[in-house]
């Protein structure tokens, strides 16, 4: 949906413009040749106008269908809206066990650079809270590292791994960066959202699942991939696993297995691949590789 409407906007804008500039755009060229004449001549004025109004209608349609604007971010809003369970007056403290961990984390940094502990502490707070950071948790972190709360908010809003609204016990993150997108991450996300009956960043009624988007996690070689952040066992049993080479069918299976509480091995979900090796076993480097020639002094 997002791409189509962008493409619409672009071709609309360019096609209404005359001059050599608009011709430079390959998409525009395509557009003109498909809808007007087969040569690179400019379509006559009238035609342009009609074309433009047609596009405009299309754009309107797109907007009508999706009330969401063109920008749909992987993370939520960049500002906080008070709600009954998330406002600065809700008391929040690190649990006793975590207080020890806080001490340990802070001990890693020089005492005059306490603020460097902000990311590990936010992570700890997020685990304790079951996957998300209420504003009072951020305030608590700010107090621990003795900075103004806004400095913590800045960090928490920067990283999409920090969830500032509630997530499910299992937070499923779909990688949306180019390699995964080319390999079908959009379909993966659609399958998940459809199966769970939620929107992005929404939690299922039973509180078990939520789906979010994230950026490249560095395993593009096994694209597409999802990550499951598992908060079902508190911060002790917290896991964050990658499931790679997923298909729309497979992610639904993964969801059901998680629901049943089954453990499933992380990594590639393609039975034909080992780790990031090629499907069906190695195709090169089948024998013991030869040593580099310079080592073997006799051979050279």
């Amino acid at each position: 949906m997002r791409t189509t409407h962008h493409a619409n906007v672009r071709s609309f804008r360019l096609s209404t413009r005359s001059g050599p500039f608009s011709l430079l755009h390959p998409q525009n060229l395509l557009h003109i040749s498909s809808s007007a004449s087969s040569s690179a001549h400019f379509p006559p004025k009238k035609m342009l106008a009609r074309l433009a109004s047609k596009r405009l209608l299309e754009i309107r349609q797109v907007f009508r269908q999706s009330p969401q604007t063109s920008r749909s971010l992987s993370t939520a809003l960049n500002y906080h809206i008070d709600s009954p369970d998330n406002n600065p007056d809700v008391p929040w403290e690190f649990s006793d066990a975590n207080k020890e961990k806080v001490k340990e984390i802070i001990s890693h940094y020089p005492s005059n650079y306490k603020q460097s502990a902000v990311i590990p502490l936010l992570d700890l707070a997020q685990q304790q809270q079951g996957g998300w950071l209420p504003v009072s948790a951020m305030n608590a972190v700010a107090k621990v590292i003795e900075v103004a709360p806004i400095r913590v908010y800045e960090v928490a809003t920067f990283y999409s791994m920090f969830n500032r609204s509630k997530v499910g016990k299992y937070h499923l993150l779909v990688c949306g960066t180019t390699p995964c997108m080319i390999r079908g991450s959009r379909e993966i996300e659609d399958a998940l959202l459809k199966h769970l009956g939620v929107k992005r960043n929404e939690v299922t009624k039973d509180g078990l699942f939520s789906v979010g988007e994230m950026e490249c996690m560095g395993c593009c070689v096994n694209a597409p991939m999802i990550t499951v952040a598992d908060y079902s066992n508190g911060s002790e049993g917290y896991t964050y696993n990658y499931y790679e080479d997923v298909t729309p069918k497979r992610v639904v299976e993964i969801v059901e297995m998680l629901r049943r509480g089954e453990k499933l091995p992380p990594g590639t979900q393609n039975p034909l691949r080992t780790k990031s090796g090629p499907e069906g076993g190695n195709t090169t480097l089948l024998s013991e590789p030869k040593p580099p020639p310079c080592r073997d002094l006799d051979a050279c």
Partner: protein, 750 residues
């Protein structure tokens, strides 16, 4: 450039081109017509550099940009760099951008601000540096010896054009409805350095506006993420509320949680924001900046005397902006200074009025009003005549008031805030002797009964600057209050002062070890009965800590009102105590903060002033006077610097300058004062306080305080009080201001 000129230039270029292409090739490509088509030079900077002629040896000397000064403390630390072939000597540690400024080349910039830390995130300041593979951000790059900086090469130009295109990508095209229009850095720099078209065809992003309070209006979609406002709030204002939230194209400035900007300096973000993202809320959609007439004046809402520019349109003051004065307010002003102007239009006194027997005021002519007052002044005994100058009075009118009352035989005249027994004998006893700028040299501060943040916001900003830069220690004695820097609250009253004076307090060691200790005593203590004892204790501490030396005078008094210093210089000191209790004829020259409870019921009160403020309720006769924006008046600030206001707008109704009213009254009363021009009254001032004629100069006190006779008086142990209850409303103008009322309602809520 006119169109015709442009055309002829084009023609010439083409003829040259057709006749001898070689000449054209060797020409600086910047002279050629600009086009978006990339030239081969752009692809190959080396070739372009080689093609350029060698820098001519005798370049004309250039003037540094915006008065940029080079101060070479140690000649050994100087390095030489070349800016466009022009050699400049600069001290080590300067950035490339500063070097260019010294060389007279203005580098476009958005995020760099000389008074804030360097962020280097807008990239507008890119220049070419020889031997560096890419253009460098000059604001964040330290200049190195022998560096060859090029600011007008094709590479630098292309870089700027590219940055500009990126910045404009998400910037809305709403200049026609933007209040910054006409004084917008983005507008100006895109005209000067940008391209005439962009290639971005996607949707622009939009950002939710934030609510920062009644003073700053936000249109966050216009923000270019330069983070100047964040750095200002954190570094100068000392309120860490603003931050940069999110990342990438979702990045926005905000407070995350709903929060107003509760700083007394918040208005300055309006000036530093290079675009129209942060603009003045009260000024929104009121005027375009090119319609305004600027008058360079000074501020009178506190004793700092911040330098301001009053922007007016016709008879109306539209806004107030700061003027640069390194010694006083740098380039900031407080919110009270900036936004009090709407008070100048409300509750003004237009005509002379006399209270009738029914208790209502009746408008009369000047002649009648003056006659009535003169007659009554003659009916009372001379010692029953009392005059009080208000906190906004200028030196001229205070001189006239004192002269007039003396002629009538009374010497009961003082300025409010100075109380009955000011110690006006020695100037050093009531001035900020270190000077405001000089406070930056101090390394330990002892604040006695003063809350600089509300009494003199700009002095507080200086202290904060020093504390941030040098980790100077601050000790404070007084009621618990808000500070925006680290401080130790030593105690609440004279008890602590005594402990320090006797060397029993742990803070003493800090004072003794300090190189340049500074003691700042609040003028609020003038009002205490035991003030002599307190000042004696302070002087003991000063002696103990060697605060007053030949090279450093750290014993300061922080005054509260604009009129105070000049009043003490002019000797507005009453003869006896219990003046108000026995007064039969009270002349209030804009004095609204005097307590009139003890005034006898049959006393006749004349109120001369510009606002229908507190004292008007008790007045029998009202003389309308002009406000500081409407007259030429001399003021002396708390550090002893004499400055002048200039009339920006005509006065309202039938009001007159303060001194002229008193001059007229003296004539009607048959005691004519011997001056009728501002020049004449200034020569009179010269005989009393010559320093008040040295405009824009600080006359330091000559005698040091230690000459004072030792004095012992019982000190009472009541704690020091707060002098300023409400920062936003301290004088008749600010009390009449709607904006200030909004501020006190919203921002002072605890």
């Amino acid at each position: 450039m006119g169109l015709g000129l442009l055309a002829s230039r084009t023609l010439r270029t083409t003829t040259i081109l057709s006749k001898s292409p070689r000449i054209f090739a060797s020409q600086d490509p910047s002279n050629a017509l600009r086009s978006i088509v990339s030239t081969p030079e752009l692809q190959n900077p080396e070739a372009a550099a080689a093609a350029q002629p060698n820098p001519t040896p005798d370049l004309p000397p250039r003037t540094p940009v915006a008065g940029a000064r080079v101060h070479l403390p140690n000649p050994d630390d100087a390095i030489e760099v070349f800016v466009d072939g022009y050699p400049v000597k600069i001290p080590k540690g300067m950035t490339v951008l500063q070097a260019c400024e010294v060389a007279g080349v203005d580098i476009p910039r958005f995020c760099y601000h000389s008074r804030l830390s360097i962020a280097g995130n807008c990239r507008m300041c890119l220049v070419e540096v020889e031997k560096s593979p890419k253009p460098v951000a000059s604001c964040a790059m330290p200049a190195l010896p022998g560096m060859k900086i090029k600011t007008d090469t094709p590479v630098a130009k292309k870089a700027r054009e590219g940055v500009m295109e990126f910045l404009l990508m998400n910037h809305p095209l709403d200049c026609p409805i933007c209040d910054q229009g006409g004084e917008c850095d983005l507008q100006d720099q895109s005209m000067a350095f940008g391209s005439d078209r962009g290639r971005f065809t996607e949707m622009k992003r939009s950002v939710v506006d934030k609510n920062l309070g009644p003073l700053v209006k936000t249109v966050m979609t216009r923000c270019i993420q330069c983070t100047r406002c964040v750095r200002f709030a954190t570094e100068v204002a000392g309120v860490q509320d603003l931050g940069m939230l999110g990342r990438g194209s979702g990045e926005e400035i905000g407070t995350y949680v709903e929060k107003l900007m509760t700083s007394e300096l918040s208005g300055n973000v309006i000036d530093i924001c290079p675009v129209g993202a942060l603009t003045s809320k009260p000024f929104a959609f009121k005027a375009r900046n090119w319609e305004l007439k600027g008058t360079e004046s000074i501020d009178v809402t506190d004793a700092v005397g911040s330098n301001i520019r009053i922007d007016s349109r016709g008879p109306e003051v539209m806004r107030i902006l700061p003027r640069l004065n390194e010694d006083i307010n740098e380039e900031w002003i407080s919110d009270k200074t900036r936004f009090c102007y709407d008070g100048l239009k409300r509750q003004r006194l237009n005509d002379p009025m006399i209270r009738g027997p029914d208790g209502r005021f009746k408008t009369v002519s000047w002649r009648d009003a003056l006659a009535v007052v003169a007659e009554i002044a003659h009916q009372v005994k001379p010692e029953e005549i009392v005059g009080i100058a208000g906190q906004l009075s200028d030196a001229e009118s205070m001189m006239a008031l004192k002269d007039f009352l003396n002629k009538m035989g009374s010497n009961n005249v003082w300025c409010e805030g100075n109380d009955m027994h000011p110690c006006a004998d020695l100037r050093s006893g009531y001035l900020l002797n270190s000077s405001i700028g000089g406070l930056e040299k101090a390394d330990v501060f002892l604040l006695v009964g003063t809350q600089p943040r509300v009494e003199a916001a700009m002095v507080n900003a200086r202290i904060r600057k020093t504390v941030r830069a040098t980790h100077a220690k601050v000790g404070y004695i007084g009621p618990a209050t808000d500070f925006n820097y680290d401080h130790q609250h030593l105690g609440t009253g004279p008890q602590t002062l005594l402990e320090i004076a006797e060397g029993r307090h742990p803070f003493c060691s800090a004072l003794l070890n300090a190189k340049n200790p500074a003691i700042i005593v609040g003028a609020g203590l003038f009002e205490r009965k035991d003030k002599d004892a307190i000042f004696y204790a302070v002087e003991t501490i000063a002696k103990l800590g060697k605060v007053v030396r030949s090279d450093w005078n750290g014993l300061n008094v922080l005054l509260r009102n604009a009129a105070q210093a000049a009043a003490l210089d002019l000797g507005l000191v009453p003869e006896s105590g219990k003046n108000i209790e026995s007064a039969k004829f009270l002349y209030l020259m804009g004095a609204d903060d005097v307590n009139l409870d003890k005034l006898p019921d049959d006393a006749f009160v004349v109120y001369q002033g510009h606002h229908g403020d507190r004292s008007v309720y008790r007045a029998n006769v009202i003389f309308p006077a002009s406000a500081f924006s409407e007259k030429e008046g001399t003021y002396e600030n708390t550090e002893g610097c004499t400055q002048q206001t200039l009339p920006a707008v005509p006065t309202v109704g039938d009001a007159r300058d303060d001194w002229k009213i008193i001059r007229a009254l003296s004539e009607v009363a048959g005691m004519q004062l011997p001056y009728d021009t501002p020049g004449a009254i200034r020569s009179r001032i010269k005989t009393v306080a010559p320093n008040l004629l040295h405009m824009d100069e600080r006359d330091p006190a000559t005698f040091s305080a230690s000459l004072k006779p030792d004095f012992c008086q019982k000190m009472s142990l009541t704690a020091f009080g707060t002098t300023v209850e409400n920062f936003y409303m301290t004088d008749p103008i600010t009390r009449a201001s709607k904006i200030m009322a909004q501020c006190s309602a919203l921002l002072l809520k605890k």
